[in-house]
């Protein structure tokens, strides 16, 4: 049997690397001061950081007013006003959802985060986990709408803040993802009609800005409906998002499909697998693994793009933050508001990015050497 043998026969003894190539000083020399222009850049960057960070920290923490500061107190001193965030926290997070019922959107967020965290574990990538998701979404619907189980009914025009952002993006991505797979497969299909349909759809949607798609969904869509029938605004925005995300994700997935060698298709065909078996068991698992970076890119930009719903009058996280600023008592605390929601967006996006890197590593570790 041909196994490579790493054991060395009698040979040279192991040596340590020369002392000036290891250790922190060597690292500094090799990475920050290895050439004269690199040295200048290093110094410049340090100077820049030195002049920017202290004033920022000063504003952020040292001169900042605490969580219980009133707006009058804040207006006197120069630091950040965290009293604003504290005062408006529930409005920014949950929008106009009835105040006493705000445990419901809170529970919604918790359910989504739990579902998302569990979905990160590959042991749960089984068909039955779809049922868990379905149950979770049903619970979310009951919590948000109410009207059953003794919960008061809350119209979805009152929804807002983080739950709205999460609902739009998670449901949007969950529906768009399978649609994108079908579109990508359709685009590579050898049935001309299917192919033309998918190409047209993808190119059409990718050719218009999301904003105009949202406008169309909210202004034009009702024109096509018979009189008296109205589809709710949130649903229309959700549909527009799904259509948009599906087109972009389809292209990411198509890139993955193109990376799969012809031999994989032939081996699957040769074993007698049908088209869908071949795709599900052989081609897609590999293609999706290849497509993780561009897919996550789409996920992240899509998560942030949900903030565009503000233009059709829905108040997602960004919308509620803006609305909070319009309170005359707290006008002008933009920095605190945007920094706060910026951090929330960042936590979500950075987690996605980190998780995708881990997933990529795991998949690569098992598949290839």
């Amino acid at each position: 049997m041909a196994t490579t043998d790493n054991a060395q026969p009698v040979g040279l003894p192991d040596e340590r690397p020369p002392a000036n190539t290891v250790g922190p000083v060597a690292w500094l020399r090799n990475n920050l001061f290895n050439t004269w222009y690199n040295a200048i850049l290093t110094v410049l960057v340090l100077a820049l950081l030195g002049s920017a960070i202290p004033p920022f920290l000063d504003w952020l923490l040292i001169k900042a007013h605490g969580l219980d500061a009133t707006s009058q107190e804040c207006r006197q001193g120069g630091g950040a006003c965290w009293g604003f965030v504290n005062e408006k926290l529930r409005f920014i997070m949950f929008g106009t959802f009835p105040y006493d019922e705000q445990w419901r959107p809170f529970a919604t967020i918790a359910i989504f985060i739990a579902l998302l965290l569990a979905s990160c574990d590959r042991r749960f990538w089984k068909p039955w986990f779809g049922l868990v998701w379905a149950a979770g979404l049903a619970a979310v619907a009951i919590l948000m709408w109410g009207g059953v189980l003794g919960l008061t009914y809350v119209e979805n025009t009152l929804w807002g803040g983080l739950p709205l952002t999460i609902i739009l993006s998670v449901i949007g991505l969950a529906v768009a993802f399978p649609a994108a797979i079908l579109l990508a497969l359709g685009r590579r299909s050898n049935m001309p009609a299917v192919k033309v349909l998918c190409v047209t759809y993808i190119e059409l949607i990718r050719g218009v800005p999301l904003i105009s798609l949202l406008f169309m969904a909210s202004v034009m869509f009702p024109l096509f409906l018979p009189n008296g029938v109205s589809v709710d605004k949130l649903l229309r925005a959700q549909v527009a998002f799904i259509m948009f995300a599906a087109a972009y994700m389809a292209e990411a997935i198509r890139g993955g499909l193109q990376a799969i060698p012809k031999g994989q298709y032939e081996a699957a065909d040769g074993l007698g697998l049908g088209y869908w078996q071949k795709m599900r068991k052989i081609i897609l698992p590999q293609a999706l693994a290849v497509a993780i970076p561009p897919l996550v890119n789409t996920f992240i930009s899509f998560f942030k793009d949900t903030s565009l719903v503000i233009i059709i009058g829905l108040y997602d996280l960004l919308g509620t933050a803006k609305a909070a600023l319009s309170d005359p008592a707290w006008r002008g605390f933009y920095r605190e508001a945007y920094l706060f929601i910026g951090v929330i967006y960042w936590i979500f996006c950075y987690s996605m990015s980190k998780y995708s890197q881990k997933l990529e590593r795991d998949l690569n570790r098992s598949h290839r050497r």
Partner: protein, 258 residues
């Protein structure tokens, strides 16, 4: 000489498993297969050889319709290959194929590579499919690697897994397309040994290869192809010692001098 004796013992059933009549194929304007007539009996071992680009791969790939022929008929195991997808899938179940570049599924373990088609195509229970897979992996002497991924194996090992993967479908015919030509020289033998073992067990085999030693020792018939035609076919003794056509002689002189 022992091999000749062994060959003499090998008797064919006389039952036909593959029949090609007047098969023609074009790639655009290019005529790759010209009037191929071929009949293969159950248990027959056929080696196909010929210069590169002569259409060997194309011909055997037509037999499980990885390529489509445009004229003539191909009947495999009683089923004619047409555009009928159901029939194509039925034929592919019965015809195993081993490729030059192995084409193992890199995201599945060796064992999963072997059980996938039995489970999904033959609808075998998982445990049974695994039993069968382990049996064939033992047979190609690689059972201890069952839980590794293909990327962790050497070329020769991967090709043996590919053979086991095909065998797990209990095919009636095995097609080999230059199974050893992508291998480092020291790994060729381990794969050929497995193939010889298969031949001895009576598997019907069509094998495109330039391993003339293999052809001499196990083939019932050697087919020589050139420019899309079957130029000559004969028993290995006569093919190698007494080729009829000039093209065959030229080819043999080139290949045997290397």
């Amino acid at each position: 000489m022992a091999q000749v004796a062994q060959q003499a013992q090998h008797t064919l059933s006389g039952e036909e498993i593959i029949r090609c009549t007047g098969v023609n194929k074009w790639y655009g304007e290019f005529h790759v297969l010209k009037n191929i007539d071929l009949s293969v009996q159950k248990g027959e071992r056929i080696v196909v050889c010929g210069p590169s680009g002569s259409g060997k791969s194309t011909m055997i790939r037509c037999l499980n319709r990885l390529e489509e022929h445009q004229k003539g008929t191909i009947v495999v195991d009683g089923i004619e290959l047409t555009n009928n997808l159901k029939n194509i899938e039925l034929v592919r179940r019965e015809v195993g194929m081993v490729f030059q570049h192995f084409n193992l599924f890199p995201h599945l373990t060796v064992l999963e590579n072997c059980t996938l088609a039995p489970i999904w195509v033959r609808k075998k229970p998982k445990a049974e499919a695994e039993d069968i897979a382990m049996r064939y992996l033992k047979r190609v002497r690689i059972a201890e690697q069952a839980n590794k991924y293909p990327g962790q194996l050497s070329g020769g090992q991967q090709q043996r897994v590919a053979i086991a993967r095909s065998l797990c479908m209990s095919p009636k015919v095995m097609l080999f397309d230059e199974p050893t030509s992508a291998l480092d020289p020291e790994m060729v033998k381990e794969v050929l040994d497995v193939m010889i073992g298969l031949a001895e067990d009576g598997m019907t085999m069509l094998c495109v290869t330039h391993e003339m030693g293999f052809a001499k020792s196990v083939a019932d018939r050697v087919i020589f192809m050139d420019r899309g035609e079957i130029v000559e076919q004969d028993t290995p003794d006569r093919f190698f010692t007494n080729p009829k056509s000039e093209r065959t002689k030229l080819f043999l002189s080139q290949i045997l001098n290397h």
